[in-house]
């Protein structure tokens, strides 16, 4: 026998299970959160324990503008996703492109900050515990932003080639989840590094 049927089958049985993309992405986010948590714990644990070198208070400047950029990109991607669900492809593409621009701006800001820290403040990953934990944590986040931007750009390219429509909105929503996650991580990293850590 290859079909197993129940003797008491309710033909009006509604069988709706979650979308596998969302579940998969949620799992990935959980796993990534665990990795970030370990780096945050290391950062907090080593606060004030550096034996030498510049302290956070001496060299860190709070990147308010670039943070606003990144957090706004969460808003724009959310709007983009909604527009696509309603079939407004052009608006979706514009908002999507703005999201990428904001994300790229954030990365640029990080690059500028690192340049200043390395060449003006003399803080590298090997300088002291602060340097090690700072660059690792912020760098891990920046890596995730980069990967996200690559994915978003791919979608932009497909969108420009007119391949992204309403039918893809579930996948776009899944990708947006990742982007929201990256932003949420930044909220945590920002708090830990620039507020608590100083």
């Amino acid at each position: 026998m290859s079909a197993v049927t129940s003797p008491v089958l309710d033909s009006s049985l509604e069988w709706k299970l979650p979308y596998r993309g969302k579940v998969g992405m949620a799992c990935l986010i959980i796993a990534e959160s665990a990795i970030f948590s370990i780096f945050v714990v290391a950062y907090l644990f080593y606060l004030g324990k550096s034996v030498t070198g510049p302290t956070p208070r001496e060299v860190l400047e709070t990147p308010i503008f670039f943070t606003i950029c990144l957090l706004s990109s969460s808003l724009t991607i959310h709007l983009a996703s909604k527009e696509l669900e309603n079939g407004h492809r052009k608006t979706f593409l514009v908002l999507w492109a703005i999201t990428i621009a904001l994300g790229a701006l954030f990365l640029f800001g990080t690059a500028m900050e690192w340049h200043r820290l390395i060449f003006e403040s003399g803080l590298t990953i090997s300088t002291n515990l602060f340097g090690t934990t700072y660059y690792s944590l912020v760098g891990l986040h920046a890596t995730h932003v980069t990967v996200g931007l690559v994915m978003l750009t791919l979608v932009l390219l497909f969108g420009l080639a007119d391949r992204v429509g309403m039918e893809q909105s579930a996948r776009i929503a899944t990708l947006s989840m990742y982007w929201h996650f990256v932003d949420a991580v930044w909220v945590v990293v920002f708090t830990v590094v620039y507020i608590v850590g100083r």
Partner: protein, 557 residues
Amino acid sequence: MSSDAMAIPSATNAARPWVEVLHEWVTTVDHKRLGILYIVYALLFLVVGGVEATIIRIQLIRPHNDFVSPQVFNRMFTMHGTTMIFFVAMPVLFGFANYLVPLMIGARDMAFPRLNAFSFWLTALGGVLLYFSFLGGNGLYGAGNAPDVGWWAYAPLAAKAFSPGPSSEYWTISLLVSGFGSIGTAINLIATILCLRCPGMTLNRMPLLAWLNLVMSGMVLITITPLSAAQIMLLIDRYLGGHFFDTQAGGSAAIWMHFFWIFGHPEVYVLIIPCFAFMSEIIPVFSRKPIFGYPVMVGATVCIAFVSLSVWAHHMFTIGMNSYANSFFVITTMCVGIPTGIKIFNWLGTMWGGRISFKTPMLFSVAFLFQFLIAGLTGIMLSSAPFDWQLSLSYFVVAHFHYVIVGGILFALFAAFYYWYPKMTGRMLNETLGKLHFWLFLLGFHLTFDVMHIPGILGMPRRIYTYEPRPGWETLNWIVTIGAFIQGIAILVFVANLIYSYFKGPEAGNDPWDAWTLEWSVSSPPPNYNFASIPVVASRRPLWDLKHPEDPDSRYE
């Protein structure tokens, strides 16, 4: 052209060119084939890890032995541990999960078949990379050879200062790579179980194997990742001049231990929970009764998953934490024993009042119950911190965890092999060889691991390539080594059975064990697409309902 997942060699099948068969296997995204690839891969490494264990045991058969040098010995125990955990236990359990979960929930495949294949090949690459270390280059004083820092790679021993050369990198990177493979499979299992169950199969009606693999996968997401994070930190220390574990720069050796054991303890539950799943499927069938207390079994497992996240520092009772911290981990560790014990009682309750038939799967299952009980009890001993101050880092602990891993996990795996091999290949494993395998392995296991507790009590620490001729140590070590050889022979019998039965075993048919879950409703081996039409279920034992229409489970659930 056969559309079977695995063609049984028979006269009616046209011979296909071997290149085609090879290509199919290498490019497959079918969960059944990937499952078998995982299992075969794990079996190969089981033999390799066993050889490493044998080398260790030969070296320790008498004091001041010189079978291998200390450098080689230290590589052996490092590689043995790393291999067995990451390239035997994890793959074989993921292999069984891969094969069985879609079938048991009435699905056609996993949620992400390509991710499935990718995860397998990542894991496979990890193993190859780890073993490349033997060949990769000796460097100065063998510094490039296989890793020799123990499978925990404690800092600062694993730091550049004390482990120059790339040997530690082989450990770190191979585990990072295979770790990502594990995370991929875990994501896949969760998505499959949550999104692809057949109509009628609510979470409350899902086979326990699916439930437990769901819990295990959830654990993997937050268990493997701390290790990955710690390994990235180690790489930063070793290559970018970081100071995470650099005690000269104010870094902490203890924080590596915390990060490692935050992975390491839940990891052992990751390994044992799928084995609980096997027991929960096999014991009912051979007792001819449903599992006793299904909701409690689910609840206990979820409980174990959560509590196990809070016990990690019982591996660190000796590092000098204060008495309050130590006491905290004492109570959490003892607590995790409660739901675990409940599970043992529930399996007993399943057997109670049943009609138990002692085919090979059940023999291994009963042995599992006996041995897992003992392992749990020695665990309770270790959870009592002062007692642990004597027992930890000694051969008592080595005996304890081998009792869990060999006496528990491996025995449960053997049961699973004998139970599901017919489904995977269409042939029954030989019962006589199976019983021989069982009794030989049981003898060897107890000879080795019962006796091994004693040298620990008599003061013998672990990870030593030789020992002083203290009274009793030599005889005890000698017995332990003999037991290892007997286990080796038993494994050979097992492998012979696997190969022989593939060609000569009696045909199994759909349902050789008169079982009740969906995988037994399809042919052995199942067709490529699993089910001609997706089943609809109304109870936890859909096949029981079909076989006993006068008394279906659906009436009572």
